[in-house]
C-alpha cells in the first residue's frame, strides 16, 4: 500500500466530521446511561424482594436489551460496514439456538 499520499481536508469536511463525532459521542453517552439505568433496576428489583417469577424474566429481558445495545452502539453495528460481522453473529446465534433446542428436546427431555 502507498503511504506517501497525504490528504488535506477542506473546511466543510472538517466540520462534517466534527458534527458526526459529536453525534456519535452523544449516542454513546445516552446508551451508557440507559445501560446503567437498566442494571440499577435489575438490582433494585432483587433488593425490593419481588417475586422470583417476575424478577428472573425481567433480568433476562434486560440482559438481552443490553447485549443488543452493546453490539449496536459500543461495537458500532449501527454504523455502515459492519454487515459481515452482523451476518456471522446472527448465523452463530441461529446455529447455537438449534443446538440448544435439540439438547432440550431430545437429550434432556
Amino acid at each position: 500500500m502507498s503511504h506517501d499520499v497525504t490528504h488535506t481536508r477542506t473546511q466543510q469536511e472538517y466540520e462534517y466530521d466534527r458534527k458526526r463525532a459529536n453525534l456519535g459521542m452523544r449516542n454513546q453517552v445516552t446508551v451508557f446511561a440507559l445501560m446503567i439505568f437498566l442494571t440499577f433496576i435489575a438490582f433494585a428489583s432483587v433488593q425490593a424482594g419481588m417475586s422470583a417469577y417476575l424478577v428472573a424474566p425481567l433480568i433476562l429481558l434486560f440482559a438481552a436489551v443490553q447485549v443488543a445495545l452493546q453490539l449496536y452502539y459500543f461495537m458500532h453495528w449501527s454504523e455502515k460496514g459492519h454487515g459481515m460481522a452482523q451476518f456471522f453473529m446472527y448465523s452463530a446465534a441461529f446455529i447455537a439456538f438449534t443446538m440448544i433446542l435439540a439438547f432440550i428436546t431430545i437429550i434432556w427431555w
Binding site: M1, H3, D4, S91, A92, T98, A102, I106, I107
Partner: protein, 623 residues
C-alpha cells in the same frame, strides 16, 4: 533487503521455513506435512486391508486392529485431508483475490505449527504405550473405559491441532472479507475462494463444539469428572451430539473446497465460463447452512425417537438438492466446452460419477428406517469412502497436478499423471464398490476378523486387491514428483495456457510480495478477460508502483506451539502416580508458550518496506 533469488545454504533454507510467514511457503509446509500424514494413514489402511483379506486372519491382534482403524480415520481426516486442502488454499486463495498475503501472516504460521505439533503428539502415542483405540468418533462409553493413554493422546493432540485449524479458518475469513483487490466483488470471486470462505465459516462454527467435547473428555478421564458417565449422573449421548455437531459440518469443510477446486478445473479445461456461477455460490452457502442441521443422522439408531429421526432425515435429504445443483452445473460447464483432457480434468471426470454414487448412498442412509439396517455395516464404510476418496482425495490429486506449476514452477509429467489416475481410480472402485454388498450381506464395520463361508471371503479379497492398486497409484504420484523435481524445468506463467483467474496472471516464480501493483479486477475470470482483450501483461493495475509493506519472519509461532506440545506430555502423564516429573514438564511447557506470547506482545515488530526503486529494478514484476 531483497531476499529473492539468492541461493541459500541448506541450514538457511530450513531456518527460513521454520520462521516463514509467507503464505506460499506455508502452503509448501502444509503440503509436506499433510503428505507425510497421508502416507502414514495410508500404511494403516493397507494393514487393515491385509488383516481383512481372508477370514480368521491373525496378521494383527484385535487390540492392535482397533488402534490401527482409529488412527487411520483420525489421521486421514484431521492430519491429511484438512492440511492438504489448507496447502492449496494458502497457495491459491490470496493470489486469486489479488492480495499480497493473508490478513494475519503471523497467525497463519501459528496455525500450521499448532497443527503439526498436535499431529506429532497424536502419532507419538504409537511409541508411548499404545494409540487410541475407540474409533475416530471416540464414543464416550468406549473411550472412557480404554485403559491405556491412547485416548488422552487423542484428546490432547486434537485439541492442539484443532486450535491451529480454527486459527487458519478465521484467517481465511478475514482475508477474503478484507483483502480483495479493487473490483473483486463477492460475486466476482473464483469458486475456490468462495468455497474456502464458506468452509472457513463452517470451521469457525463447528470446531468450538469439538473443543468443548474434547475438554469434557479430558476432564472425565483426567480429573474424574462425570460429563459422560451415566452412573454418576452424566450422559454418554452428549459426547455423540457434540462430536457430530462438529463432525457433520467437518465433512462439508472438507468437501466444499474440493468442489471449489473441481469448479476451477472444469471451467479451465472446458475453456468456458463456469455454468451457473451465481447458483453455484448460492448452493455452496446453502450446503454450509444445512450442514449444521443434520448431525443426528449419525445417531438414528441411538433412540432419539421417531419425531427427531424424521426431522433429521428430511433435513439430510434436503442437502441433496443444492449438491445436485452443483453436479448439473459442472455437467453443463463441460457440455459444449472446448474440452482438453489433462490430468486434473481426468480426475474431474472421474470425480463426478464417484461422488454422485457416494451422495446417493448418503440419501439412502438418510432414510431412518433403512439406516437401522445399514448402520455400522460395511455399507457405511463404502458410503463415506465414496464421498471422501471419490470427492476429496480425487480433488487433492487433481489440485496437486493443477497447482504444481503455481507452487513450484514445474509441471508434473502428464502421461505419468494419467497412469496414476488409472491405477488410483480403478483401485478405489475395486476397494469400495464391493463393500456396499458386504454391508448389505451383514458384515459389520470395525470388526478385526470374520468367520469364513458367509459369502464375504471373495469380496473382502477383491477389496484388498483394490487397496494395493490405490497404493501403486500413490507411489506413482510420488515418483512423478521426484522425476519432476530432478528435471527441474521451469513451467513459466500460465503453464496450462487456459488459466482464467488471477493466480495465473502472476509471473513465475511468484515474487515474494505477490503483486508488484495491486490488480484491478474487471469481472469474473479476470485473467481471461485481460487475455481476450490482448493485454500481454495479464493485469490492469489499480495503483502506481509504490513501497510495499512486508511482515518480518518470526520463530515465535513455532515456540508457542512447541510449548503446548511439551505441556501436553506433562498433562497426560500427570494422572500416573509414579511420574512426579509430569508437573514440572506441564509448567515448563506452558511457560514456554506464555513467554513466547509475551515476547510477541511486548516487542514491536513493524515489518519492513520494499522500496519503489527496488521494485522497479526487479525483473520479477514485468517481463
Amino acid at each position: 533487503m531483497s531476499s529473492t533469488a539468492k541461493k541459500k545454504g541448506f541450514g538457511a533454507t530450513i531456518w527460513d521455513y521454520l520462521t516463514t510467514v509467507d503464505h506460499k511457503k506455508i502452503a509448501v509446509l502444509y503440503l509436506i506435512a499433510g503428505t507425510l500424514f497421508f502416507v502414514i494413514g495410508g500404511i494403516e489402511a493397507m494393514l487393515i486391508r491385509i488383516q481383512l483379506a481372508e477370514p480368521n486372519n491373525d496378521f494383527v491382534s484385535a487390540g492392535l486392529f482397533n488402534e490401527i482403524i482409529t488412527m487411520h480415520g483420525t489421521t486421514m481426516i484431521f492430519l491429511a485431508a484438512m492440511p492438504l486442502l489448507f496447502a492449496f488454499m494458502n497457495a491459491a486463495v490470496p493470489l486469486q483475490i489479488g492480495a499480497r498475503d493473508v490478513a494475519f501472516p503471523f497467525l497463519n504460521s501459528l496455525g500450521f505449527w499448532l497443527f503439526l505439533f498436535g499431529g506429532l503428539f497424536l502419532n507419538l502415542s504409537w511409541f508411548l504405550g499404545g494409540a487410541p483405540d475407540a474409533g475416530w468418533t471416540s464414543y464416550a462409553s468406549l473411550s472412557l473405559a480404554s485403559p491405556t493413554h491412547g485416548i488422552d493422546f487423542y484428546a490432547l493432540g486434537l485439541q492442539i491441532s484443532g486450535a491451529g485449524t480454527l486459527i487458519a479458518g478465521i484467517n481465511f475469513l478475514v482475508t477474503i472479507i478484507n483483502m480483495r483487490a479493487p473490483g473483486m466483488t463477492y460475486m466476482r470471486m473464483p469458486l475456490f475462494t468462495w468455497t474456502t470462505f464458506v468452509a472457513s465459516a463452517l470451521i469457525l462454527f463447528a470446531f468450538p463444539p469439538l473443543t468443548v467435547g474434547l475438554f469434557f473428555m479430558i476432564f472425565d478421564r483426567m480429573f474424574d469428572a462425570n460429563f459422560f458417565d451415566h452412573l454418576n449422573g452424566g450422559n454418554t449421548i452428549i459426547w455423540e451430539h457434540l462430536f457430530w455437531i462438529f463432525g457433520h459440518p467437518e465433512v462439508y469443510i472438507l468437501v466444499l473446497p474440493a468442489f471449489g477446486l473441481f469448479s476451477e478445473i472444469f471451467a479451465t479445461f472446458s475453456r468456458k465460463r463456469l455454468f451457473g456461477y451465481s447458483s453455484m455460490v448460492f448452493a455452496t452457502i446453502l450446503i454450509g447452512f444445512l450442514g449444521f442441521m443434520v448431525w443426528a443422522h449419525h445417531m438414528f439408531t441411538v433412540g432419539l425417537g421417531p419425531t427427531a429421526n424424521a426431522i433429521f432425515a428430511v433435513a439430510t435429504m434436503a442437502i441433496a438438492v443444492p449438491t445436485g445443483m452443483k453436479v448439473f452445473n459442472w455437467l453443463l460447464t463441460i457440455w459444449g466446452g472446448n474440452i482438453k483432457v489433462t490430468t486434473p480434468m481426468l480426475y474431474g471426470l472421474g470425480f463426478i460419477p464417484s461422488f454422485v454414487a457416494g451422495g446417493v448412498t448418503g440419501v439412502m442412509q438418510a432414510s431412518a428406517p433403512l439406516d437401522y439396517q445399514l448402520h455400522d455395516s460395511y455399507f457405511i464404510v463404502a458410503h463415506f469412502h465414496y464421498v471422501i476418496v471419490g470427492g476429496i482425495v480425487l480433488a487433492l490429486f487433481a489440485a496437486a497436478h493443477y497447482y504444481w506449476p503455481l507452487m513450484f514452477n514445474q509441471m508434473l509429467n502428464e502421461t505419468l499423471g494419467k497412469i496414476t489416475f488409472v491405477f488410483f481410480f480403478v483401485g478405489f472402485h475395486c476397494t469400495f464398490f464391493i463393500q456396499h454388498f458386504l454391508g448389505l450381506m451383514g458384515m459389520p464395520r470395525r470388526v478385526f476378523t470374520y468367520q469364513g463361508d458367509q459369502g464375504w471371503d471373495l469380496f473382502n479379497y477383491i477389496s484388498t486387491i483394490g487397496a494395493f492398486l490405490m497404493a501403486i497409484g500413490v507411489i506413482l504420484l510420488v515418483v512423478n514428483v521426484i522425476i519432476t523435481a530432478i528435471k527441474g524445468e521451469p513451467a513459466g506463467r500460465d503453464p496450462w495456457k487456459d488459466g482464467r483467474t488471477l493466480e495465473w496472471a502472476i509471473p513465475q516464480p511468484v515474487p515474494y510480495y505477490n503483486f508488484k501493483q495491486t490488480p484491478l479486477v474487471r469481472g469474473l475470470d479476470t485473467f481471461w478477460i485481460e487475455k481476450m482483450e490482448g493485454n500481454k501483461e495479464g493485469m490492469t493495475y489499480a495503483e502506481p508502483i509504490s513501497d510495499i509493506h512486508m511482515p518480518n519472519n518470526s520463530f515465535i509461532p513455532f515456540m508457542i506451539s512447541f510449548g503446548l506440545f511439551v505441556a501436553a506430555f506433562g498433562a497426560l502423564y500427570h494422572q500416573d502416580a509414579d511420574k512426579a516429573w509430569s508437573l514440572p514438564v506441564l509448567i515448563a511447557g506452558l511457560a514456554i508458550t506464555f513467554l513466547s506470547m509475551i515476547v510477541r506482545s511486548l516487542k514491536d515488530d513493524l515489518g519492513y518496506h520494499i522500496h519503489k526503486e527496488e521494485l522497479m529494478n526487479e525483473k520479477g514484476g514485468k517481463k
